[in-house]
């Protein structure tokens, strides 16, 4: 943080978080999202939805986009728009559109006689809890934009 910044500016949450592609590093998301939610007085439901969708989006990138390969970058950028909080997630993984992905192969055939569904939950949850989702194929990566309305 440059020393010339005022106290008020220093208290503002960082608009960008970069993590490495390890599931353990997703723990860094929580406090970052909390500080943004606090600053923008996001309702509890919006806060929950952001935590949920970002955890799903980033764990998808770690497990599927990068195929479990550690040490690859994931950038999350925050911006606010009127009445909504917007998060943009970028990676350098092979083309992977989660919105076109059924996710069924996440879960092998469940044991006979038990049909508790497990596969494909990440994208199902993101569709339900994000206000909107957008995918862009980049030259060398992927961009997912998640928008969360401030009122449910």
């Amino acid at each position: 943080m440059p020393s010339f910044m005022s106290g008020e500016a220093a208290a503002k949450s960082e608009p960008r978080l970069t993590i490495q592609s390890r599931l353990e590093d997703l723990a860094l998301l929580w406090s970052w999202v909390e500080s943004i939610a606090e600053e923008h007085a996001a309702p509890a439901q919006t806060r929950f939805a952001i935590h949920l969708c970002l955890e799903e989006a980033l764990s998808n990138i770690v497990r599927h986009g990068y195929g479990g390969q550690p040490g690859r970058p994931i950038d999350v950028e925050f911006s606010s728009a009127p009445g909504e909080l917007v998060f943009t997630v970028e990676d350098e993984a092979p083309a992977f559109d989660p919105l076109a992905y059924s996710g069924r192969d996440q879960d092998p055939v469940p044991p006979a006689g038990d049909s508790i569904p497990l596969g494909g939950q990440g994208i199902r949850l993101m569709r339900k809890f994000a206000g909107s989702l957008g995918y862009t194929r980049l030259v060398n990566g992927n961009r997912l934009t998640l928008r969360f309305p401030m009122v449910p």
């Binding site: 997703l26 439901q45 955890e55 799903e56 044991p111 199902r124 339900k128």
Partner: protein, 111 residues
């Protein structure tokens, strides 16, 4: 993330989860959940103090529940908060793991 177990009447095992069932929370409870599910025949999973549930957390509930079901046992989910319940319903697991908000009803469903 905290996990505690309690033996109720009629052979019912209550396992209470407390905290955030995010990726780290799921990893923290998986072993204990699997141990509990390895012997319980009637399992009540108390979610009232679970403040967050993601898809990795869902696995921590579903996989042990499958183990109990595979032995012919029963599992119910008790008292999830509004957003946690919404995650359970969106995922569809409430069709196999009934959700109860009344303890007497939850216990009755395990008989």
């Amino acid at each position: 993330m905290q996990i505690s177990t309690e033996e109720l009447t009629d052979g019912i095992t209550k396992v209470a989860l407390d905290g955030r069932l995010d990726i780290a929370g799921a990893a923290a409870v998986d072993l204990k959940m699997n141990v509990v599910a390895g012997s319980a025949q009637k399992l009540l999973i108390d979610l009232q103090n679970v403040t967050f549930l993601g898809s990795m957390g869902l696995r921590s509930i579903v996989l042990p529940a499958r183990a109990v079901h595979s032995r012919g046992g029963k599992v119910v989910l008790f008292a999830p908060g509004e957003m946690v319940e919404s995650v359970l319903k969106t995922s569809g697991i409430d069709a196999m793991l009934p959700i109860h908000h009344d303890l007497a009803a939850a216990i009755a469903a395990l008989q």
